[in-house]
Amino acid sequence: MSINVPEKYWWDIPLDQDEKTWIKVAIVWCILLTVMMPWWHISGNQNPSSEFYRITTDNFDKLTDKFIAKYKVGEEEGIDVVAPPANTDVFVRGSQWMWEPILKLKKNQTYRIHLSSVDVNHGFSIVPINMNFQAVPGWDYVLTLTPTTSGEFHIVCNEFCGIGHHTMIGKIYVE
């Protein structure tokens, strides 16, 4: 019984054949699961970025404002729309409760997205493509992003950030 003290020399009781076989099969599967992660870093196209910097929220605020002023092409619902050229630094600022600016990107072009927040934690979720990253105050998270489909995408905040959390919606256009 599993509630009683086991036999004194339980270590010496051999495993059943079924148990032995299952352990071997399971180990092979566990090794595969482990190997997949480094392997995808080498040959896959979707990996969480390892590029990040510490930055004060004030400095990130200023960098975003400078970026918006440089590439602004219009406004939508009072939010600035920017069209940065490919391979440039792009800033996305999360704050209670908006994502700024609205981005106009080109399909199959690469951008260095700097993601951060200037108040509390926010979740950067691109829908409907379903990609999710965390925007943390004090941290500049650099995502080297290449949109591979075109259309209109929304940025949804998916980290609770206060009572207005569900109104925090941004936009990305990919042409």
Partner: protein
């Protein structure tokens, strides 16, 4: 010992556990597949 009596071997569980492993493999594959369809990020 009774455990080595073939009548008492957990043969049903052996079948069930491989069904479980198959589900695990399929679910893992589907998720990697879904991941490979999203935008490139690094």
């Amino acid at each position: 010992m009774a455990e080595h009596n073939d009548e008492h071997r957990p043969r049903g569980t052996v079948v069930l556990i491989y069904i479980f492993l198959a589900c695990f493999v399929i679910f893992t594959y589907l998720n990697w597949k879904q991941l490979s369809d999203v935008w490139t990020v690094g």
